[in-house]
Symmetry: D2
Subunit: 389 residues, 4 copies
């Protein structure tokens, strides 16, 4: 409730559109729940599917005005931009290859963009989109949603505070097992586009989940990568994109890291874990148990810091809704990205500076993520040679 409670004076909800996210999509529903939870947005328009008919059907299910259910993002951008009550922001929740043209269409019309990751399906598009975003008066928010977890914020705050000393190691992993078999060949929709280079880009597991782990490792540690060496692999016969990657990293300043992402590691659902070790302390955060942060100072007992509990600092409290011991989950973390986006958008609308505490992944994080994927693939093609990122 902290988040709700902060709205001391009521601000009108932000009018939101959505590109993608029609019936059967997973992430579209997640975005909608996230947008609703804290009451900052109202979904009023959508280009929810690839055809006008399907988009309309999905829009009806969601209670949208049929007039604002569009057959394409281009149409939505154009027509919504022309309405006095048109959307102020848009969520882009399509396969990766649509991110660039869709985001461009809205940014160029001054409509704020909240876009799924990875930023684009290739680095060239990513850089072009960055140029567009930089030139736009509208904001660009990338939903690296794991950065919204309170204990992730606390981990970052601990590093920034110097509690870990100088960072030596950042270990990231994101194993899953849902692609251990070639289910994309059975028509499973989520698997199909994620393993299709035309829709996903050059990275499979690297793009889908490796970018999350990478983003989170950088977010918490505050480090920037210098170079990496990768062994990217496809285990499942006939699969077109990687389903496993081993990556060694060197960060600017001398820290080192390992990153493992996999979609064939049987026994893992969403095993995202980040561990950071410094000269004075170490920490560990696991996405499946997100209300906990393990923190150990050298020579002291381990501490289990809990969301909302003693030991959680200001950065965590700021994005905490309910008291400790009542777990918040994935949707709350995702919603926090929307809350942050709303704070930034409302500041822009009112001509105010954005509160420096407002934190969300940006177009730059997106470019870095795509650069990471391409560097992994490039390094692997060179048999694991170190590649500057």
């Amino acid at each position: 409730m902290a988040i709700e409670g902060k709205t001391e004076e009521r601000i009108a909800k932000i009018r939101l559109g959505m590109v993608g996210g029609g019936s059967g999509a997973f992430i579209g529903g997640v975005h909608r729940m996230a947008a609703r939870l804290d009451d900052r947005f109202e979904l009023v328009a959508g280009a929810l599917s690839s055809t006008a008919e399907k988009s309309l059907a999905s829009g009806r299910e969601l209670g949208l005005d049929p007039q604002r259910c569009y057959g394409s993002f281009e149409e939505m951008a154009e027509r919504e931009a022309a309405r006095p009550d048109g959307i102020e922001a848009v969520s882009i929740v399509t396969p990766n290859h649509v991110h660039y043209p869709a985001a461009k269409a809205f940014l160029e019309r001054g409509i704020h963009v909240i876009c799924d990751k990875p930023l684009t399906s290739n680095l060239e598009d990513a850089k072009k989109l960055k140029a567009v975003a930089d030139a736009s008066r509208a904001l660009f928010v990338l939903t690296h949603n794991y950065t919204g977890y309170p204990m992730v914020r606390h981990a970052r705050e601990l590093v920034l505070s110097g509690a870990l000393g100088e960072i030596r190691l950042v270990q990231m992993e994101y194993p899953q097992d849902w692609l251990a078999e070639p289910i994309e060949q059975t028509g499973q929709k989520q698997a199909a586009w994620r393993t299709d280079p035309k829709q996903s880009g050059v990275g499979g597991s690297t793009g889908d989940i490796g970018t999350h782990a990478y983003n989170l490792g950088c977010f918490i540690s505050g480090l920037e990568i210098e170079e990496l060496a990768a062994d990217v692999h496809t285990f499942v016969d006939g699969r077109q994109l990687d389903d496993n990657a081993h990556v060694m990293l060197r960060f600017k300043g001398g820290a080192k890291g390992l990153l493992w992402c996999s979609q064939v590691a049987v026994g893992h659902e969403n095993g995202l874990k980040v561990r950071v070790y410094g000269t004075k302390a170490g920490l560990e955060w696991v996405q499946a148990d997100p209300n906990y942060l393990w923190f150990t100072r050298l020579g002291e007992p381990k501490q289990l810091i809990t969301r909302g509990g003693a030991g959680a600092g200001a950065a965590a409290q700021r994005v905490t809704r309910i008291p400790s011991g009542h777990p918040e989950g994935y949707l709350e973390a995702f919603a926090t990205i929307y809350v942050e986006a709303a704070a930034a958008i409302n500041a822009v609308k009112s001509g105010q500076p954005v509160d420096p505490a407002v934190t969300y992944p940006t177009i730059d994080d997106g470019v870095k993520g795509v650069a990471f994927v391409e560097a992994c693939v490039t390094s692997s093609k060179k048999n694991g040679a170190w590649v500057k990122v």
Copy 2:
């Protein structure tokens, strides 16, 4: 998204009012987030605080129409009942002693009630409220929210399926530590009313959290209590209500149980745990890690069943929003009570029978909970004699 996805045809949102839940309240915000998450309700009116001014201020924060911010629940009940667009349902989120008169006022006007627990501050009120509810065409839903967790649903389904065999033991505990010191004397609002017999009734920890543990043990095991023996105690000097209770239970049919609730058990945030043991298998569920259910068949390795994962059955899947490995939390479980309430309300509105799968705590559960509290206190006054419930 399963829940959202099930709304194949769009049904209008249910118009909701709220009694209590003004600025600074914890549970009011929880109810609002829960009501919003799955988009079944729209908050349109409130008697949010004890005075018209405060209620209006809180209503403004929430974006309510000032005309529909009332100074008392009586006024809201009367005026909303008279509006053609009046509220169809009301959430009652006040201290316990207000539950009875408030619920009565709405039920008698045919307005559905979603009410916090415990049902009332004493058994007499509980029984009277049951009579009112039974006579009303409106529904009564009690927010024993922990019953909304998918793994709790799965635990219940396992018992019902016979997978545990004949139930022998039900062990419940709900330790907390937030009242380990007399913070009610410092003006902490949450502590103040919960330790005040006038607002809470005869039970302190027994009413506030013991009822949750008791409800959940009964919900999962499907058992009904026969009698109990309790040692109810107040550890903190000057506190007027119990802050710890040890209870031995005997269920109809021969099963036994233990229940421990405490608000002075240092190290526990919301340590709600239920364990059920039968002749064939045992299970354990812990609220702080709600996406897991431990299940062990006699003579087989332990299984860790996960929300959304392999092994989660239909009852759990029905109330699961997002895939396994992405944790759902307290708010989602709470929201599920709202989803269930909406399903039942919409069925009533449309003159259809309620889907038998719809599951929510009822007025009867509420009466049982208050009877439990009173039995604990009675037994304890008789030095732990067995008391029929």
Copy 3:
């Protein structure tokens, strides 16, 4: 190695005999491994089984001198007492009903006794044995082996240091599932004697494991019981002794407790757990994960204190063999009881006072344990009335 390392000057090994523990027994082998681990004892004689032949066969397996394999403890006591190189100490590892006569036979001859728990099969024998022990120049050591775990020692030290403040609650549980079915009827030897009142006494689960939990709760908390109310039950048809007990406790000074022991709780192997809560802090220790101690000060993050690690104090370090992160287990804890016994015996032999740090369960702990079992049974017969212990 700390334990080994402390032997700065070599002291001759203590000559040890054993009563019980022949082929097929579980606990006899445990005692022998425990006695060997730290090299303080040498097993030289045994009355290992109930007949001379079986005893000899078991003795041969163990490499004993056939001349010192006896057909009865009486014979062993008499003949070993007469030898110049006779045993100095004896381990009694029989079913409960033999403890009293066997211990008496050795104590009366000045031979130190290391005896399994519970002390005896009834309180009368316990008191008589105490009189014998008090009158003997020999020591009596009871193998409540869980008190040998370093983290248990640390827990006790934390309480004694005042770190928990005034103790309010002691919660003990010891669930198992190995008797969930009537395996005693299949001839399983361990089950057969434990469910036979002639060999075990009046308590089943209460005597076999309830006493362990009770002893450990008292050991850690430093509290003494005043009275208890118990609901003791036999779930398995045809079983002669209890297989589950629920007990509410009141300690001298005002603390309260719960104790649950069960041999039918499916999913538990040896789920011994003790939790102690005071005004300032709480702690939790679980036997299955014995190298950890959870400790939480009110208003601070939980700490996970590890055996050998930072935060483990002098009492734990004193009985720690190997560095942190390399787990010690059940046998090491058991061996610590033997190390402590050896320290005390060697002090007695040399006419020195026993080091005050030496800690082992005594005849008094044994009497308390049997009194606890009888009180549970008595209370339960009175339908859970409070019984002074």
Copy 4:
């Protein structure tokens, strides 16, 4: 007790000597406890320290005959070989650089060798020692003690049984934090030799713990490495050997792996973990919690298999002493290597074939371990180029 119980006829204890392990050493005491636990060995001689005086002092503490306390391993080898009751086996527990000459001295005299890891301080010595061992009638046993844990044996058995399908991934890690600061500069003895290339060889963390992780990954998976790419690093200023290594591995047959070892990862005591993933199932074992094995079949709930419990197969049961729920630890696993060594030695003594179930790390495992360390260092010098092993 299973292990003890198997000795149906008593076999004389094996006469054991020890090289190294004098006062203050950690691993010497571990070897002695391990050798004693199951009563297969009797320590009768030692070259415990680098001088005759110190060796004698240490020997006295251990109760050795002063005549058999030697000032050097050469002396011990020569004189013990000449005695009719001379040692049959020797434990070598010195810093790495002594392993080769000491082992050679005993092997050449037909005395069985139980030697600490890594095998030698360089690959050349390792190969020479292999030649010696191959030519000797005596056995060579390497104490990669983690292979003695029952759940490690079970993991290996699961892989061998085909339960995991075709192995795709082997992830190994062994983080510690005890060298996070330059404690070798303070005279800490354990740190001093481990960070000294003259005593340790080319590898620091790679040799000390990386070899353990590597050995265990290969032991469980049954795979052999083909090549590796490593980023080996020294974080602590002034340290002469590596204290962290990131290694990517490719196994023969196509599986891949990651290995991370570190002595500067704050918060880890002995965080050895091995995870193996195949086409059908995955497993995870953690040394700090060694009585558990996580096992997940694709599309089924996770299983927690426990030592001694349901689900533990024959290979685990064979090396299990006590029932499930009573944890065994590091010393028991270490002792199992000694039990296996004794079984092999006794077979050799009696001219019988060694039971095929007897399993211990061999000279070949030792050579592989040293080759792994050298390959890591070589690869790292080539900036992470792939190096055949």
